[in-house]
Amino acid sequence: MKYTSSEMMTVAAARALKNDDICFVGIGLPSAACNLARLTHAPHITLIYESGTLATNPDILPLSIGDPELCETALTTVPVAEMFRYWLQGGRITVGFLSGAQVDRFGNLNSTVIGDYAHPTVRLPGSGGATEIATSCGKTFIIVRHNPRTLVSQVDFLTSLGHGKTGVERKALGVKTEGPAMLVTDLCVMKPDRATNEFTVVSIHPGETREQVARNTGWNVRFSEAVSETPEPTDLELGALRELNDRTARAHGVAAAE
C-alpha cells in the first residue's frame, strides 16, 4: 500500500511501544501513535491520559485529553491530583510520549513561548503535564514534524527537561529517570548517542535522504555509523491507522489528527 510521510511517522512511533508499557499519553501526534500500538502489536499496553483516565481503550482518537470516550472506556478514572502524585510522581509510568513546538539535540522541549518570555512572538499553550512527565516517567519518546523551526539548535524556552542544555544537566540535577530515548519525525528516527546524549539519526524513512534530514534540522545533525532504512508500514499497520482516523473523523465531524 502507498502511504504518506505522516503515516510512516505514526507507525514508526507506535512500534517503539511495548505490550507491557504503562504509557502517559500526550494529545495530538503521541495519542495517535499510542493508540495505533494498542490496536496492532501491543493490545495490553496501558494508556493513561492526564485527565485521570487510567487504562483507557478509546475507539476513536480524542480531540482533548478529557473527551468522554476516554473516561467511558477506562478501567478507572482518578482525580487529577492523584494522577500526578501517585501514578506519575510515584514512578508507576514506564514511558511518556511527548511533542512540542521546539526540540533541541538533547531532547529538551519548548511548549511555552517562541521568542522572549515577557514579550513573546508566539504565546504557546504551556507545559500542561509535560514538565513532570519529562522527569517522572521511566523514559520519554518524542514525536514532531521534521523542519528547522521545530528541530532547533537551542530551544527559546526550556519547558520540559531532556538531557539538559549541554546533554549532562539531567544527571547533574539528580533526575534518576532515563529521559528522551527516541525522537521520531516524518523523515527519520533518532536516538541519543551513548556518550554525549545527542540525538543521532539511526534510521531514515523509505524515500527520504540524508540531505533532506540535514536540511530540515536546525543543528549540524549527526548520523550513526549504521543508519538503516525504517521498515515500511505493513498493510496491517496502515489499515489499523486509517480505520482509526476514519472513525475519528466521523465522530468529530472534522479532519482526523494524523
Binding site: E72, T77, M83, Q89, T121, G129, T135, L161
Partner: protein, 287 residues
C-alpha cells in the same frame, strides 16, 4: 448549608469585583453558564485560576474582566491557540494581563494543599525547567529526612470556586462523576463556592459508597442550570461539543467577530439558553 438559588442571584451575592476565582473542570464539567453570568454582571479586575483555561477564560479575558491569570495550559484542546489570551499577552488587548504560569503537577498539588489547609505544596518537579526562572512563586525546599531538593509552590486559596456537576439534592449536596479533575479540591480550598448542576433531585442515588459528593455545607450556593457546561459536557447526560471547540478558532481570531459573538450569545442571552445547547438538542448558534 448551600442555598438553592437562581444562577443570577448566586453570582450577584457571592462574586465581587477583584475576587480571586477558580472555575475548574478538566475538559469535563466546565462551568460556562456561570462564567457567562459573570460576564453579564460585568465583574472586573478578577484574578482567574484554572489549570486549563480554555474557551471560557478566553471569553472572559477578551471581555476585559481579568487582571491576572494563574494557569498551567492555555490552549484550545486539540485545536490550537486561545486567540483572546494570546492577544492579551502579545498585544495587551483589551488590557494588559499578568500571568503566573505553572505545570499541571504544580497546580494539582497546590489545589490539594489549599484543600488541606497547608500554606504550600511540596512535590518533585520543575527540575531543569525555565518555568522556575520566570515564576518567582516556584521555589524549593530541602527534605529534612533525606536532603532531597523538592519543588514548592504556594497553595491555592481562592475567594471563590465555581464548578458544574451532575446533580444536587434538595439540601444542596452535590454529586460529581466522570473526569472529576480538581473540583473537589478547588471547592474545599475556597472561602466560598458555587455549584451549578444539571438537575436537582430528591435523592442523589449514588452508585458507589465512594462517589464524589460535596456536602451542602462546603458550598455557598447551588443553581440548577441544565446544559450549563456547553460546549464542555456532563458525563451521563450529553457529550462534548467538539465541533464548537473547532468553530471557536475562527470566531475568536478577530476582535470584532469575537465581540459580535459575545454580544449575541452571551450579553443578550441567559442561563436558560444553555438547556438547548448540548449537541443532541442543539439549535443553531450564531457563528
Amino acid at each position: 448549608m448551600a442555598e438553592i438559588l437562581k444562577l443570577s442571584d448566586a453570582i450577584a451575592r457571592f462574586v465581587n469585583d477583584g475576587d480571586t476565582i477558580a472555575m475548574e473542570g478538566f475538559t469535563h464539567l466546565i462551568p460556562f453558564a456561570a462564567g457567562h453570568e459573570l460576564i453579564r454582571q460585568s465583574r472586573r479586575n478578577l484574578t482567574l485560576i484554572r489549570m486549563t483555561p480554555d474557551i471560557l477564560y478566553d471569553q472572559m479575558i477578551g471581555m476585559g474582566m481579568v487582571r491576572k491569570l494563574v494557569f498551567s495550559w492555555g490552549g484550545n484542546p486539540g485545536v490550537g491557540s486561545l486567540h483572546r489570551l494570546r492577544d492579551a499577552i502579545e498585544n495587551g488587548w483589551p488590557q494588559q494581563i499578568e500571568i503566573e504560569e505553572h505545570s499541571h503537577a504544580a497546580m494539582a498539588n497546590a489545589y490539594e494543599a489549599g484543600a488541606a489547609g497547608m500554606p504550600c505544596a511540596i512535590f518533585r518537579g520543575y527540575q531543569g525547567s525555565d518555568l522556575a526562572r520566570v515564576n518567582p512563586n516556584i521555589r524549593s525546599v530541602t527534605c529534612p529526612f533525606t536532603g532531597e531538593q523538592l519543588a514548592s509552590v504556594p497553595s491555592i486559596r481562592p475567594d471563590l470556586a465555581i464548578i458544574h456537576a451532575q446533580k444536587a439534592d434538595r439540601d444542596g449536596n452535590v454529586l460529581v462523576e466522570g473526569i472529576v479533575g480538581v473540583q473537589k479540591e478547588a471547592v474545599l480550598a475556597s472561602r466560598r463556592a458555587i455549584a451549578t448542576v444539571e438537575e436537582i433531585v430528591d435523592k442523589l442515588d449514588t452508585h458507589s459508597p465512594n462517589a464524589v459528593v460535596l456536602p451542602s455545607w462546603t458550598l455557598s450556593a447551588v443553581a440548577e442550570v441544565p446544559g450549563g457546561p456547553h460546549p464542555s459536557y456532563t458525563h451521563g447526560f450529553y457529550a462534548r461539543d467538539n465541533s464548537f471547540y473547532v468553530a471557536w478558532d475562527a470566531i475568536s481570531r478577530d476582535r470584532n467577530t469575537f465581540l459580535e459573538w459575545m454580544n449575541t450569545n452571551v450579553l443578550a442571552s441567559s442561563p436558560e439558553a444553555f438547556a438547548q445547547r448540548p449537541p443532541h438538542r442543539q439549535v443553531e448558534m450564531t457563528a
